[in-house]
Symmetry: C2
DNA sequence: CTTGACGTTGACGTAAACGTAAAGCATGAT
DNA sequence: ATCATGCTTTACGTTTACGTCAACGTCAAG
C-alpha cells in the first residue's frame, strides 16, 4: 500500500497516521534508528495492536531530533530539550523553571551560531585567497 | 615551571612553544584527547627528543578541531577540512579542487546555520508563549 | 642519588548511536 | 491454506571518541 494509512472507512476525521517505514523513508533514516529513538524515549508512537502508529506529533519530534543531531547535540540532551516543549506549564514555579531552561538552551545555541558564522567567515576568507592565487596563475 | 617554554638562552627569536599539559589546559581538554587527535592525524607536533612540542600552528588546528566538534562534525571529516587549509595550491587543478571542496563545506555550514537560526527562532517563540502564560497567572 | 612531577607508549574499557542478523507474528493476496 | 511482505522483539556487533590504568622514561630539585 502506498500513501498514508487511512484505515478505509474508519477514522477519516481523526489524525493522519504513518507506518514506521513511511516516516523512516521520509526523514532519510532506517527503521532501526527510529526505534532506537523510541527506546531512548524521544518519541512514543501509539500501537494499533502490535504495530507502531506515527502521528504528526511524532514526525514533528523526529524533525527536532534530527536537527539537534545535525547541531551536534547528544540524543539524551535532545530528549530533555524537546520534552521541555511538552512540559506542564500550569504552575508559576514550573513556568519559571522552563524559562530558566530556555535561557540555558539559548546560550548553547548562541555559541553554535557564533561557531558557524566564524567558520563560514574563515571559509570565505580562504576562498578569497585561493581565487587570488588562481588569478596570479593566469 | 609556569608559562611557555623558552629554553633559557636558546631560541628566543624562534617560535613560542607549549607542552601538552599547557595546550590541554588552555583548551579545556585532557592530554589523552590531544594525543587522540594526533593519532588520527589532526595535529602533528614536533618532538624535542621524546616529548611533544606544540607551536602556534598546532594550537590553531586544535581550535579548529574543537569548533568542528561543537558543530557536530566527526573527527575524520574535520581532518579533511583542516587539511584543506594546508593543502598545496601550486597548480591550477589543485586550486580548482580546493575551491570545489570549499563549496561543499559551505553548503554543509549553510545547513548548520539554518538549523541554528531555526532553533533559536523556535526557542524565542516558545519563550514568548511561556511569558504569556506567566502573565495570565499574575 | 633518589624522589616527584611530568611525559611517553601500549592496551584494554566504555558510552553513544546505531548496524545487522535471527526468528517470530500478522495480514492481505493468490 | 499458504505464501510473501512488512512489522516486531531480542540480542550481539561495530564505529567513534575518548577514559583509564599500567609500566616505563627523564629531568630538575632536594
Amino acid at each position: 500500500m502506498i500513501g498514508p494509512m487511512t484505515s478505509a472507512a474508519a477514522t477519516r476525521t481523526s489524525e493522519q497516521t504513518w507506518t514506521i517505514a513511511q516516516v523512516a523513508e521520509e526523514f532519510g533514516v532506517t527503521h532501526r534508528t527510529v526505534r532506537h529513538y523510541e527506546d531512548l524515549g524521544l518519541i512514543s508512537p501509539e500501537r494499533r495492536g502490535t504495530q507502531r502508529v506515527y502521528r504528526r506529533r511524532d514526525r514533528t519530534r523526529l524533525g527536532l531530533i534530527l536537527r539537534g543531531k545535525r547541531l551536534g547535540f547528544p540524543l539524551e540532551e535532545i530528549r530533555t530539550i524537546i520534552d521541555l516543549f511538552d512540559a506542564p506549564r500550569g504552575r508559576r514555579t514550573q513556568l519559571e523553571y522552563v524559562l530558566g531552561q530556555i535561557d540555558e538552551r539559548r546560550a548553547d545555541l548562541d555559541q553554535r551560531l557564533k561557531d558557524v558564522q566564524d567558520a563560514i567567515a574563515e571559509l570565505g576568507e580562504f576562498e578569497r585567497r585561493c581565487r587570488e592565487d588562481l588569478d596570479r596563475l593566469a
